[in-house]
C-alpha cells in the first residue's frame, strides 16, 4: 500500500472518530497504532472518559465487530471464551461463542476479574485463537483487546500478572480533558449527541475489516534500518540495567516497539521508520513491562521517569550531534 494513501486513510479515521470522541486525539492515535500493529491496548483511567465510546466508534469506523465484557470478581473463563452447550434438538454439544469472538473487544475493568478468568484471555491475545475442550478455534481478524483498569480503586481488585501485562502492546494513561474540551463535549450533547445512538451521529465506515487486515500486512513493507534495530535493543537493554528497575523489559517489548514504530511510520506517510517513531512509542510500550525496585517506588520514582532517563541516554543512530 502506498504510504501516502495509508496515511490519508488513518487521518480520515482519526478525523471521523474525533467527530464523536472529543479531545482524545492522542488516545485515538495510540489505539489505532496498536490495532494496525496487531497489538492490544491497556487503558488506565478513571471511569467516564469515553473508553467504551472509543471502542464502539472505532469499530464502526473500521467496519469491525465489537463486544464488551464487564469484568467482575465472579466472572468465569467460559463467560469470556464461550463453551459447549448441550443441544437437545441435535443431542450434541454445540459451541457457544463467548464475547471474545469479536474483532474489537473491550474488557472493562479487567483487574476486577480473578486471575483464572484473566488468563483465559492470554491465549486469545497472544495466539488469536481459543481452545475449549481440546478444540482450537481461531478468532476473527483483526482481533484487538482494549482493556481498561481503574487506577483509583484498589480494593477488591486482582492486579494483572506481569505475564499478562506483557501481552499488551501498550499501556495508555488517560487523564481528564481540559476545560475547553469538556465544554465542547457538553456543547455536542446540547446539540443532540447521544453516545448510545451512534447512528444518529452519522458515523460511517471508512474501511472494512479486510482493509484493516491489509493495512496490518502492509506494515511488513516498512523499512527498518539496521541502526534502528540497534537503537531498539539498546533502549530495551538499558531497562534491564537501570538502577531503579528491578525487572526490565522482555524481548517481546522489543518486538512491540518494532511493530508499533512501523505502524507509526506508516500512519505518518513514510515507508521507513525513524528514531522518532521508536522514541515516541517507548513510554506507552515500556511503562507496564518494567518493575521498579521498592526503594524507587518509595522515593516516588515512576516508570515513566525511568524511561525518560533511558531515552535521554540512548544514542540515536545517525545523529548530527
Amino acid at each position: 500500500m502506498n504510504p501516502e494513501a495509508f496515511s490519508e486513510i488513518c487521518d480520515g479515521i482519526k478525523r471521523e472518530v474525533a467527530r464523536v470522541l472529543v479531545g482524545q486525539d492522542e488516545l485515538v492515535e495510540q489505539v489505532l497504532t496498536a490495532i494496525l500493529a496487531r497489538g492490544h491496548v491497556l487503558i488506565e483511567g478513571v471511569p467516564g472518559l469515553g473508553k467504551t465510546l472509543l471502542v464502539r466508534t472505532l469499530a464502526r469506523v473500521l467496519g469491525c465487530e465489537s463486544k464488551r465484557i464487564q469484568f467482575t470478581p465472579d466472572l468465569m473463563p467460559a463467560d469470556v471464551t464461550g463453551g459447549n452447550v448441550f443441544n437437545q434438538g441435535t443431542r450434541a454439544f454445540d459451541f457457544m461463542e463467548g464475547p471474545v469472538f469479536a474483532q474489537l473487544l473491550l474488557g472493562d475493568e479487567i483487574n476486577r476479574a480473578p486471575a483464572k478468568t484473566q488468563s483465559a484471555l492470554l491465549e486469545a491475545m497472544q495466539e488469536h485463537c481459543v481452545t475449549t475442550d481440546g478444540v482450537t478455534r481461531p478468532l476473527p481478524r483483526p482481533f484487538c483487546v482494549i482493556a481498561t483498569q481503574n487506577p483509583v480503586e484498589s480494593q477488591g481488585t486482582y492486579p494483572l500478572p506481569e505475564a499478562q501485562l506483557d501481552r499488551f502492546l501498550m499501556k495508555v494513561e488517560v487523564g481528564h480533558p481540559s476545560r475547553e474540551v469538556e465544554k465542547q463535549i457538553l456543547r455536542n450533547h446540547v446539540e443532540g449527541f447521544d453516545a448510545a445512538a451512534l447512528d444518529a451521529a452519522g458515523l460511517r465506515a471508512l474501511v472494512s475489516a479486510d482493509d484493516v487486515v491489509s493495512m496490518q500486512q502492509a506494515l511488513h513493507e516498512i523499512r527498518v534500518d539496521e541502526g534502528l534495530l540497534d537503537y531498539i535493543t539498546d533502549i530495551v537493554a538499558r531497562t534491564r540495567a537501570h538502577r531503579s528497575i528491578d525487572l526490565g523489559a522482555s524481548p517481546r517489548a522489543s518486538i512491540a516497539l518494532l511493530c508499533g514504530a512501523r505502524a507509526t511510520a506508516a500512519m505518518r506517510g513514510r515507508d521507513f521508520v525513524t528514531p522518532d517513531d521508536v522514541k515516541a512509542l517507548c513510554p506507552a510500550v515500556l511503562r507496564h513491562r518494567i518493575i521498579l525496585v521498592p526503594d524507587a517506588e518509595f522515593e516516588g520514582i515512576t516508570a515513566d521517569e525511568c524511561i525518560r532517563e533511558i531515552l535521554a541516554e540512548a544514542i540515536v543512530p545517525k545523529s548530527a550531534a
Binding site: 484498589s154 515507508d271 528514531p275 521498592p294 517506588e297 535521554a312 540515536v316 545523529s319 548530527a320 550531534a321
Partner: protein, 657 residues
C-alpha cells in the same frame, strides 16, 4: 622600509614647518573658523537666528574669514524658539531680541532638506564616533547580506570536470565515513554544496543536516545531544513558526536519506540546502533589522554644536588660547569660597548675577583684581557708567591709536561715563564709547556695551579678532566667562550634571546607548535565554524534619507500602514501650499487663496489638510489602499505645496510616 622612513621624515618635516609657521603668525580668526564645526562658515544653508543675522551687513565682500556666512545670510532663518538652549528661550521669550546662545552641550537643528550638504562637525565628540560606528556596522552588515545572498558556492571554484556527473544516488546505508566532523556552519553548508555538485548526494545531505542542527543549536533554538532525534529538534521549534516549517521539510529529506530506501535526487538535495539556508538566513534578517534601525538613526537632520554657532564662544576661546590666554567657563558663583583671586571674570549677557555676586566682584576689583563687564544688564552705580545709543557699526580706537585695527559690532549699544574716571577704548564715529575702562580701587574694570565682540560671529568681521585680543591681553592670563547658560543649569555650585540622564545627554551618548540597548534586545530575541551566562541554581531551602517524615509517609501511602511501614514502625514502637516499662526481657504478656494497669485498658486487646506488632516486626523482608487493611489498624493501635504510655500523654493521635 626605505619608503616608510622617507614618509616619516617627510611628516616630521611638515610638522616642524607647521610649528614654525604657527610660531611666526599668531592664531587669527581665519584659522579658527577653518574648523568645519563652525557650520555657518562652511554651510551656505546654515540657519541663522535674527540676532546672528545682524552680523551680515558687516561681512567683508572679499576674502572673508568666514566663507559661507554671507550666503547663509540669505538662507531661511532658524525657527523662533527652536535654536538655542531652553533656558534662553524661556528667559527671553517675549523680549525683542531673539538672542540665543549657550554652552557646548547644545545643538541647533538644521532645517535644510539636504542630508549630505555638509560633513558632520569634526569635534562633535562621541557623536562623530557614533556616526562612524553606524557606517562601519552598516558596511559590515551589507557585506554579510551580500555573502548570504551569493551563497557559499560562489566563493568556491568549481571542481574539475573529470568528476562524475551528479545523478541519483543509490539507496543504502548512510556512510559513516561521510559523517561530518566539521562544526562550522558556514563551512558545512559550503561543503554540502560542493559535494552536491560532485554528485555525492548522501554526503551533501549529511553536511546540510549537520549545518542545520548546528546552526539552530548555536542560536539556542534547539538542544543538541546524541540522544535527541530530528523530531525532537523540530518540536523544539514550535514556538518559532518561521523556523518550524522549513526545518521540518529539511528533516524529512534528511530522514529519507538516513533511514529510507528511496533514491535521493539532486533536486532533493537542492531543496534541502534551500531549506537550510532559509532557516539559517534568519540571521541575515536580524542583521537587516539592526541595520535598518541604525540607518534610521543615522538619517537624522544634521546638527551643529551650539557653541560653534555665531552666538557661541568656542571660536573666541580658541582664539584667545592661541594668544596665551586661558579662557574657560566659571562653574561656581562669584561669591563661592573658592573665590576669584587671580582671575579676571568676564560677565556676559544673561548672567543674572545676584547682588552678593556683584558685591564680591566689586570687592575683588577694589583689592586690585580686574573684571570685564560685557553685559547689557544694569551695572553697579559706583562704576558711573551709563547706557547711550551710538551711531554706526564701525569702531575706532579712542585717541586715534592704530592698535587693534578698526573693528565693527552690530547694534546701537553705547556707553557713557559720568566722570573723568572712565577712559574710552573704542568709540563710534561720534566718539560714543563702545568700550571703556575704569579704575576702581586698586583694580581695573573694562566695560563693553554688549557681549557681541565675545561671540563667534565677531570673528567673521576683519580686525575684530585683533581688537578682542588687544582688549583682553592685559587682563590675562586667566579669564573666566560668567555665562547664564552654565549658571541656569545648576552647575554654578556643583560643577556637574544633576542626574545620570542629564550627564548622558550632555555627553551626547544617548544615541549610542539606545543603539547598544537595541543591539542587546536583538541579541536576546535572537539567542533567547541562552544569551545570558547560565548560573548555578540556588541552594534548596532546608525542610523541617516533620516535612521529611510527612513526605516519606506520602511515598509509602502512594506505594501502598502498608506492610513495610508497619514493620518499621512496629520495631520502633515495641522498643519504646519496652523502655518505658523496663520489660525488655519480660515478654509481651508482662508488658501488656503493665500497660493495662497504667492505662486501664483491656489487657487482652493490648496483648493482641503487641503480638501483631511483634509478628509484623519479625516478618521476613520478602514479605508482602503492600500489606493489608489490618496493617493500618495495627499501626493506629500501636500509635495509640505509644501516646497513652507516655509520661505526659498528648492529645493528638499517633500514626493514622
Amino acid at each position: 622600509m626605505k619608503q616608510c622612513s622617507t614618509s616619516v621624515l617627510l611628516v616630521i618635516f611638515v610638522w616642524l614647518a607647521g610649528m614654525g609657521a604657527a610660531a611666526a603668525a599668531p592664531l587669527g580668526a581665519r584659522q579658527v573658523l577653518a574648523n568645519e564645526a563652525f557650520g555657518f562658515c562652511h554651510d551656505e544653508r546654515y540657519p541663522l537666528t535674527v540676532e546672528e543675522a545682524q552680523w551680515c551687513p558687516l561681512l567683508p565682500p572679499r576674502d572673508p574669514p568666514c566663507p559661507t556666512f554671507q550666503a547663509a545670510c540669505g538662507a531661511p532663518r532658524a525657527a523662533k524658539g527652536s535654536g538655542g538652549p531652553q533656558w534662553r528661550r524661556s528667559a527671553e521669550e517675549g523680549e525683542e531680541h531673539e538672542r540665543t546662545r549657550g554652552p557646548d552641550d547644545f545643538h541647533r537643528d538644521r532645517e535644510s532638506e539636504e542630508p549630505n550638504a555638509s560633513l558632520p562637525p569634526e569635534d562633535a565628540g562621541v557623536g562623530v564616533f557614533a556616526h562612524v560606528l553606524v557606517w562601519v556596522i552598516v558596511a559590515g552588515m551589507l557585506a554579510a547580506v551580500l555573502v548570504q545572498l551569493r551563497g557559499p558556492s560562489a566563493r568556491r571554484p568549481r571542481e574539475p570536470s573529470d568528476e562524475p556527473e551528479p545523478s541519483e544516488s543509490e539507496p543504502g546505508d548512510f556512510p559513516a565515513a561521510l559523517a561530518p566532523s566539521e562544526t562550522d556552519v558556514e563551512r558545512l553548508l559550503a561543503r554540502a554544496v560542493t559535494r552536491a555538485e560532485r554528485g555525492e548526494l548522501d554526503a551533501a545531505v549529511a553536511d546540510g543536516h549537520a549545518a542545520l542542527v548546528r546552526g539552530l543549536s548555536e542560536r539556542g533554538h534547539i538542544r543538541l545531544h546524541a540522544s535527541r532525534t530530528n523530531g525532537d529538534h523540530v518540536r523544539d521549534l514550535r514556538d518559532a513558526p518561521t523556523l518550524y516549517e522549513p526545518t521540518r521539510q529539511a528533516m524529512r529529506i534528511v530522514e529519507r536519506v538516513q533511514f529510507g530506501h528511496a533514491a535521493i535526487t539532486r533536486a532533493d538535495v537542492d531543496h534541502l540546502i534551500a531549506r537550510v539556508r532559509e532557516v539559517l538566513g534568519t540571521l541575515a534578517g536580524v542583521l537587516l533589522l539592526l541595520w535598518t534601525t541604525l540607518a534610521c538613526t543615522a538619517d537624522e537632520p544634521h546638527r551643529y554644536p551650539w557653541s560653534h554657532s555665531p552666538s557661541g564662544t568656542a571660536g573666541v576661546i580658541e582664539l584667545l588660547h592661541g594668544h596665551g590666554l586661558e579662557l574657560e567657563y566659571r562653574r561656581t558663583t562669584l561669591d563661592h569660597p573658592n573665590g576669584i583671586q587671580g582671575i579676571t571674570p568676564i560677565v556676559l549677557d544673561g548672567s543674572h548675577m545676584s547682588d552678593e555676586e556683584w558685591s564680591a566682584l566689586m570687592a575683588h576689583v577694589r583689592r586690585g583684581g580686574n573684571a570685564v563687564l560685557a553685559t547689557r544688564e544694569p551695572l553697579p552705580l559706583e562704576l558711573g557708567v551709563g547706557r547711550v545709543t551710538r551711531e554706526g557699526h564701525a569702531l575706532v580706537r579712542w585717541g586715534g591709536a592704530s592698535e587693534g585695527g578698526r573693528p565693527a559690532v552690530p547694534g546701537d549699544a553705547g556707553l557713557s561715563s559720568a566722570g573723568p574716571e572712565g577712559i574710552p577704548v573704542y568709540v563710534d564715529a561720534r566718539g560714543t564709547p563702545y568700550a571703556l575702562r575704569r579704575s576702581l580701587g586698586q583694580g581695573t574694570v573694562l566695560v563693553l556695551a554688549d557681549d557681541r565682540l565675545l561671540r563667534n560671529g565677531a570673528l567673521a568681521v576683519p580686525d575684530n579678532d585683533v581688537a578682542l585680543v588687544a582688549l583682553l591681553r592685559e587682563f590675562g592670563p586667566r579669564l573666566e566667562l560668567i555665562d547664564g547658560g552654565v549658571r541656569s543649569f545648576g552647575l554654578s555650585a556643583e560643577g556637574g550634571a544633576s542626574d545620570p540622564f542629564h550627564a548622558i545627554s550632555r555627553a551626547h551618548l544617548t544615541p549610542v546607548i539606545l543603539q547598544l540597548l537595541l543591539f542587546v534586545l536583538l541579541l536576546y530575541l535572537w539567542r533567547g535565554v541562552h544569551f545570558g551566562r547560565p548560573r548555578d541554581p540556588g541552594p534548596p531551602s532546608r525542610r523541617r524534619f516533620v516535612e521529611h517524615v510527612d513526605a516519606l509517609a506520602q511515598h509509602y501511602h502512594r506505594a501502598g507500602a502498608r506492610g513495610h511501614a508497619l514493620r518499621l514502625y512496629a520495631g520502633w514502637a515495641l522498643e519504646r514501650i519496652a523502655e518505658r516499662f523496663g520489660g525488655r526481657r519480660r515478654g509481651l504478656q508482662s508488658l501488656a499487663s503493665r500497660i493495662a494497669a497504667r492505662t486501664g485498658r483491656d489487657e487482652t486487646e493490648i496483648m493482641r496489638t503487641l503480638a501483631e506488632a511483634h509478628h509484623a516486626r519479625d516478618a521476613r523482608d520478602d514479605h508482602d510489602a503492600h500489606g493489608s487493611e489490618d496493617d493500618l489498624r495495627v499501626l493506629r493501635e500501636l500509635g495509640q499505645l505509644i501516646d497513652t504510655t507516655r509520661a505526659n500523654p498528648p492529645r493528638t493521635q499517633g500514626p493514622t496510616g
